[in-house]
């Protein structure tokens, strides 16, 4: 698998109220949530991005509430993956559980500019900056988490577990 996309760059502590403001949480319809993704931060974000684009952020991405609506809004908006120096823990879990690829890399977070073109190889943990001709390596996920992702998220993983019992 490989992911190719253009970079949208964000700062530190991008919280879940920025990703999807609570005023839209009276629904859990992914399409509707996606319409408002990041709108208080980048006006018309969803209209500006192209499918496959990548979010790059600094520390503590996804801090704040436990709303799974946040990774869902990002995924449904067409973002292919999020790379950050670090993630807040509930967001980290939620992204894995719903199958939004995420990568932790301070080097990539610092070494990438708005609009750069990236190529990401999730299994190998390799991030290539095509525009700047640089390569970054991240730590591969723990085996347990890889098996959740390989199953397509926690729902599919659990289905198999239940069948096995």
């Amino acid at each position: 698998m490989r992911i190719i996309g253009k970079v949208w760059k964000f700062g530190n502590h991008i919280d879940t109220d920025i990703i999807i403001p609570a005023r839209y949480l009276n629904t859990s319809d992914p399409n509707e949530l996606a319409l408002h993704c990041m709108e208080d931060y980048v006006r018309d974000f969803v209209k500006k991005i192209s499918p496959g684009d990548i979010i790059i952020a600094g520390d503590n991405f996804g801090c704040g509430s436990s709303r799974e609506h946040a990774p869902i809004a990002i995924k449904e908006a067409g973002i292919s993956c999020v790379i950050a120096s670090s993630f807040a823990r509930i967001f980290f879990r939620n992204a894995i559980n719903i199958g939004l690829p995420i990568f932790e890399s301070s080097e990539a977070s610092l070494g990438v500019l708005q609009g750069d073109e990236l190529e990401v190889f999730p299994e190998e943990g390799i991030i290539k900056n095509i525009t700047q001709n640089r390569v970054f390596k991240t730590n591969p996920m723990p085996v347990f988490i890889q098996s959740i992702i390989a199953s397509g998220g926690l729902v599919e993983y659990t289905k198999k577990e239940i069948e096995r019992r």
Binding site: H13, D15, D17, I18, P21, A22, R23, L25, N26, T27, S28, D40, Y41, D59, N60, C63, G64, S65, S66, R67, E68, H69, S86, A88, R89, I90, R93, N94, N97, I98, P142, F144, I145, I148, G153, L154, V155, T158, K159, E161, I162
Partner: protein, 420 residues
């Protein structure tokens, strides 16, 4: 190996003999809950997995607290999903308008969460119940949906940080000020992935309400949870709520911590966290001439009876400033009733405040007091992110109930000393 309370709780909920920090394990859950925002998604997940029955109808609850009283058709639909699921699954506990309170205040009050337990909630402020000496962890909806089916959750065995509070508390300084001060020292990601264990003489003498406030905001430092060992104060609190049995676990004296931070509280003033992060906290003496349009006293952080008593003490025989809307929200029906019986509601109404039914409401910019463009609020809630309480160009200053009440009277962010 010597263990922390967190490790002991995890150990007692999984079948591993020895735990390694950083290891991923599956643990059995004692109690799980979701609300009107996270619940509907969790229920879809539950159905998608193909589950027919919840793992235990006595160990799950759904709490419709965020948009209650349902603010529009969409939120009414969300609550309906919770209600229908609760009926279909014959859940022993289900709460909506009439019985509902803000989940993290309601669960301890109903005696549903107990020391030594492993608790999972689809809400980030789940760590609040850590004040009872339980390990209470916030998760997302998929996690919760799976837990409702299996009774299990995947967890990483966390490192712990110990915070030891010593010294003498100043007047008007409570749990909110201690936790805001602590977050300002370590930052909003200062405890990422770790558990914050609060200890020391000051904590030993702190009331349950103040302890809940501290554990509530551990997430605002990125923590997996906040926890305080159960003691006589905890047992006395529980004695009035439940007859259920529980196990008290304590950290071994030589347990290893990733960090031990000692905090002398003697010089800590009442705190105010400036926009737009909870870490931007300052002592009240450094806060000058910040006019406000709204003051909110409530939420899972500071909507308990002691908070309301403090507010009433300050508002008694005073009037809310003309430029300010003061919204007071008892966190549960029980607290509402106590406030009524103690005469607090009369003081609030006579001062010019409005008393809301228990709801999250304005805390998340949901309803019941949303901010307009350019407006400023002082609030006893827990997050002052951009747009959290309304318009993206509004501002939130976080504080305890004393400052929130005093500021409502003066019209600017003020120390209670100014009005009392």
């Amino acid at each position: 190996m010597e263990k922390s309370i967190t490790e002991k709780i995890i150990q007692s909920h999984c079948d591993k003999k020895e735990l390694r920090r950083g290891e991923l394990i599956k643990a059995k859950v004692d109690f799980a809950f979701a609300n009107d925002i996270t619940g509907p998604l969790a229920i879809s997940v539950f159905n998608e997995i193909g589950s027919k029955e919840v793992f235990d109808r006595n160990k799950i609850t759904l709490i419709a607290d965020h948009f209650t009283p349902n603010k529009d058709i969409k939120s009414a639909e969300q609550t309906k999903i919770l209600k229908e699921f609760s009926i279909a699954q014959n859940l022993n506990y289900y709460y909506e308008l009439g019985q509902v309170g803000i989940e993290h205040a309601l669960l301890p009050e109903k005696g549903l969460v107990l020391p030594g337990q492993l608790i999972i909630g689809a809400d980030s402020h789940t760590p609040t119940s850590g004040a009872l000496g339980a390990l209470a962890i916030g998760v997302g909806s998929t996690d919760l949906g799976v837990t409702m089916a299996t009774g299990e959750v995947w967890l990483k065995v966390p490192e712990s940080m110990k915070f030891i509070y010593g010294g003498k508390l100043n007047r008007w300084v409570g749990g909110k000020d201690l936790i805001l001060y602590t977050i300002s020292k370590i930052g909003v990601d200062g405890a990422n992935y770790r558990v914050m264990e609060f200890a020391g003489e000051v904590i030993k003498n702190l009331s349950m309400d103040n302890r809940f406030t501290m554990c509530n905001m551990a997430i605002e430092a990125g923590a997996k949870s906040g926890i305080i060992e159960a003691d006589e104060i905890t047992e006395k609190y529980l004695h009035e709520k439940t007859e259920k049995k529980y196990t008290i676990l304590k950290s071994d004296p030589d347990a290893e911590y990733e960090k031990v931070i000692e905090i002398d509280v003697t010089d800590i003033e009442p705190q105010v966290a400036f926009p737009h992060l909870p870490e931007n906290s300052k002592g009240i003496s450094e806060v000058k001439d910040i006019l406000i349009d709204q003051s909110v006293i409530g939420s899972c952080t500071n909507g308990r009876i002691e908070d309301l008593r403090i507010a009433a003490e300050i508002l008694k025989n005073n009037k809310v400033n003309k430029r300010v809307r003061l919204i007071i929200i008892p966190a549960t029906q029980q607290i509402y009733l106590e406030a009524l019986e103690e005469g607090l509601l009369k003081i609030f109404i006579e001062s010019g405040a409005v008393v809301s039914p228990p709801t999250c409401g304005p805390c998340l910019g949901g309803h019941m007091g949303v901010l307009a463009k350019g407006e400023r609020a002082v609030s006893t809630t827990n997050r002052n992110f951009v747009g959290r309480m309304g318009h993206p160009e509004s501002e939130i200053y976080l504080a305890g109930p004393a400052i929130a009440a005093a500021s409502a009277i003066t019209g600017k962010i003020s120390s209670p000393e100014e009005v009392i």
